[in-house]
Amino acid sequence: MSLPLDRVEGREKVAGEAKYAYEYELEGIAYAIGVSATIARGEVVSVAADEVLRLPGVLAVIWHGNAPKLADTEDAELALFQTPRVAYRNHWVAAVVADTYEAAQDAERALRIEYAIEEHDVVLREDDPKLYTPEKVNPNFPTDTFDGEFDAAFAAAPVSIDRTYRTPTVHNHPMEPHATLAAWGGDGGLTLYDSNQGVRPVRQTVAKVFGLEPERVRVIAPHVGGGFGSKGTPRPNVILAAMAAQVVGRPTKVAVTRQQMFAVTGYRTPTIQRLRLGAERDGTLTAIAHDVAEQSSTLKEFAEQTAVPTRMMYAAPNRRTTHRLVRLDVPTPSWMRAPGECPGMFALECALDELARELSLDPIELRVRNEPELDPESGNRFSSRNLVACLREGADRFGWKQGPRREGRTLFGTGVASSTYPARRVASEALARANADGTYVVRIAAADIGTGARTALTQIAADALEAPVELVRVEIGDTDYPPAMLAGGSMGLTSWGSAVVKACRALHARIADGVPADGVECRVDTAEEIEGQQREPLARHAFGAQFVEVAVDVDTGEVRVARATGVFACGRIVNPKTARSQFIGGMTMGIGMALHEESRVDARFGDYANHDLAGYHVPVNADIPEINVSWIDEDDLHLNPMGAKGIGEIGIVGTAAAIANAVFDATGLRIRDLPITPAKLVEGLISVSAHR
């Protein structure tokens, strides 16, 4: 462990040999395409299926008039074609199945659907009378929390700020779009080659929807081209593939297009966040309130836990956090890299910067002064908390200094923000096998979505086996392997690693006197020890600090990130090479969030106006400076056998705030709604651009 091992499947991927879901081939494949509604709310009145069935190669048209009845429709996003309701524009209201993808496309275009149109509402507003209080926020946090007397403390605070921040709808957009190949066996079993973050949740959900025993569903996903949360649970493509395969009696492929990904594969809710901070003149916080408005669809409730990080970040005796939700005629939001922490810390860390300015206090110092001894919410000890160390170390590495600087027609400024993400793990199983030839195989239904998990698990296994990594093969991404956590919540490696260590240690003990001719294997489950650990009253979180220098063009308001430094405290780093990539990837996505990404709501039509990657901008190479990433060694014994904290998400947390704070430092302009674009800056820059 702790060595920068190259990705074990790197050669396979670079050579194009690694197979992704859509690339599997079976005999007699049919192709299904989900047909997108062209209204945002209403009902399907009729589908002119007969016209389309006459076209060459068309096998079936599936809609609510003829769709197989699903056994379970609790998840309404997955309950395809069970009712005539249209819940949002581009909702799949029918499907066409054909011999070839091209024939299916022809059918999709030709299919006439008649609708009864109802008025729609797709715009999130903080004063919407339809806002309500959900019962919990993702995944099961209390919706609201109240400690002390916020109102009185805020009113009495010598210094206070009251600001509203907004983040737009953003989409995950992994490089590989969602895709599934479904094949029913003669025995009624179902095999799915599917692009996902966890074969197990796909199996469980699909089994439930189709009324099968989970063991009848096999899911295969050895290689996945990114997910960022959008593949954490099955999306309609999985259900459509299985349903279409059932209807036409042939294995069926479904490929979600990039444009369809704006509707059917999830996204991050837009947020409107009111932050109120009250402080003494020395910067000691006395009151913190974080009140959030966000959206879900009419189909399903998903309440992002946006204010949850505010519950544990800084000390203050009087605090409130609330979440309100409105159900709009929009697709259902879902997990996207660091749900909760990512948008919530944008607002909190900008507000802290605004308070520091108000107090004429260094923003690092303000954070240090409000560092809590114990978790402010639970009163528990932290298993480890090195936020201050990250801030100090980062300030050193970055050469922290605030104050605008001008070179010609460019303004420079710097900004800082904290990062955090929970350090958790859940029960998983794993199997370790020793072969007589001295090699080892470890099997676990884990997922490598581009993170390097397969490589890190190989290192973890080799370490526990006290064997060289070359002798260890880790096999993942198949429900035939022992069930495990999905790749999500930064819990993948910590959960899988715990099981792998346990299995490998057990195996190592078993083979102390040699390996029998036909090999030997050990299979373990970590449920017991993890349950035991969760009873320990400890707050477990990873922390980090991000520093950014921006360059702002005085004439145009174009913002470019000139330098970025991230320092993280995430326990023990298993593989410095893949870990660095994870941190850089998170920070890069944070730059996109700050400056580029926005799915622009088209209120008239109800969809997103810029629904492709030409219109939805993510950063390109030219936008990304050298990102300086490092970490602080932590020896936290309260986590897992590796001493590791998950690192997949913390990199995106805080980046956007650091950039917004740097833009303020450079220009004196405080942009509280993302992304920070020339349009929002140029008017304010006229006083400095000075073309008279």
């Binding site: 174009e558 390109v620 020339p678 140029v682």
Partner: protein, 325 residues
């Protein structure tokens, strides 16, 4: 997929003879093929003209003639282009990506369609795509659309970078059809939308761009291109400016100025050029020139920010040119 015929033209004469109703000339395909995938363009036949022989040649008067099939990357790298018309090379290099520039042709670049989101979405109305269906951009998603020369029926912008310095330098476009050949000034190639936004250009059906001719223009040697955009690369301009300046003893003898990303065509700034003629080469003159041009701007609800950006970008680009030795 929609079936279509594909033929590769042997030569220009064959190309214009083969083109017919519902057919399109295919250059690099970097825009047309996208639009076919989206269902915006539905040609029954493609006549591939990308492999017609093409070169960049000196003209008798000291200008350059660039054949229509020459890829953008070749034009941008040509030593004569870089020396005599540096703004042209800069404009090309600021467009798209390396891979796209290798494919995209000189003629095709000029005939790109707008990237207005409604034009590219066949499930929505658009007067350009479907005359008479309406223009949702007028009150919809138009933050990157026109501030100059738009009409009630269309507020689209022309996306080309290349065309912006070309229009500033009085480039001429050679056209050929089955019935003959003609030459039009680039400034007259693209139209303002008026009541016929479906017509991007004055090209007649079946007419092919065969070459672009840059006239000899001494002041173009002191020229520059500035592209303003939210992302550092691989994105269309919010506003772009091409400028050339001839300054003698602190006085502007002649200026050339054009804007991109602001109108249905590359926007030649004749009002600004008039203000600059014989004016002192000072910041005040540049600001007056920019204001003279932008007085005609009629921003939409969400694109007023383009006006100060255009003004500032013009002023800074001209000041930079004036300061050059």
């Amino acid at each position: 997929m929609r079936e279509f015929e594909y033929t590769r033209a042997r030569d220009e004469a064959a190309a214009v003879a083969e083109i017919g109703d519902g057919a399109r000339f295919l250059g690099g395909g970097t825009n047309l093929v996208d639009l076919m995938k989206l269902g915006v363009e539905t040609p029954v036949r493609l006549v591939d003209v990308r492999r017609l022989p093409g070169s960049i040649a000196d003209t008798a008067d000291g200008g350059l003639r660039i054949d229509a099939s020459v890829p953008n990357s070749i034009v941008a790298a040509d030593r004569r282009v870089r020396e005599r018309y540096p703004a042209v090379a800069r404009a090309l290099l600021s467009g798209a990506s390396g891979q796209l520039r290798n494919l995209a042709t000189t003629g095709g670049n000029l005939l790109q369609r707008t990237r207005c989101v409604y034009f590219m979405d066949p499930t929505k109305p658009c007067n350009k795509r479907e005359p008479g269906s309406g223009c949702p951009a007028r009150d919809g998603d138009h933050a990157n659309l026109a501030i100059l020369g738009w009409s009630e029926s269309c507020v689209a912008t022309h996306p080309s970078d290349f065309a912006v310095p070309l229009v500033a330098f009085d480039a001429r476009v050679h056209l050929r059809s089955a019935s003959g050949a003609r030459v039009v000034p680039l400034d007259e190639l693209h139209r303002l939308p008026g009541d016929e936004p479906h017509r991007d250009t004055v090209l007649e059906p079946g007419e092919l761009i065969t070459a672009v001719e840059l006239p000899a223009l001494a002041l173009a040697r002191r020229s520059a291109y500035r592209k303003v955009r939210e992302r550092a690369s691989f994105s269309f301009a919010v506003v772009s400016v091409a400028a050339a300046l001839d300054v003698v003893d602190g006085t502007v003898r002649e200026a050339r100025l054009a804007l991109g990303g602001v109108a249905h065509k590359p926007w030649r700034c004749r009002a600004a050029e008039e203000v600059l003629r014989d004016a002192p080469a000072t910041a005040a003159s540049f600001a007056r020139a920019a204001d003279a041009e932008l007085a005609a701007a009629r921003p939409l609800r969400d694109n007023g920010y383009k006006v100060p950006i255009a003004r500032n970008a013009i002023c800074t680009l001209l000041a930079g040119l004036a300061a050059r030795p």
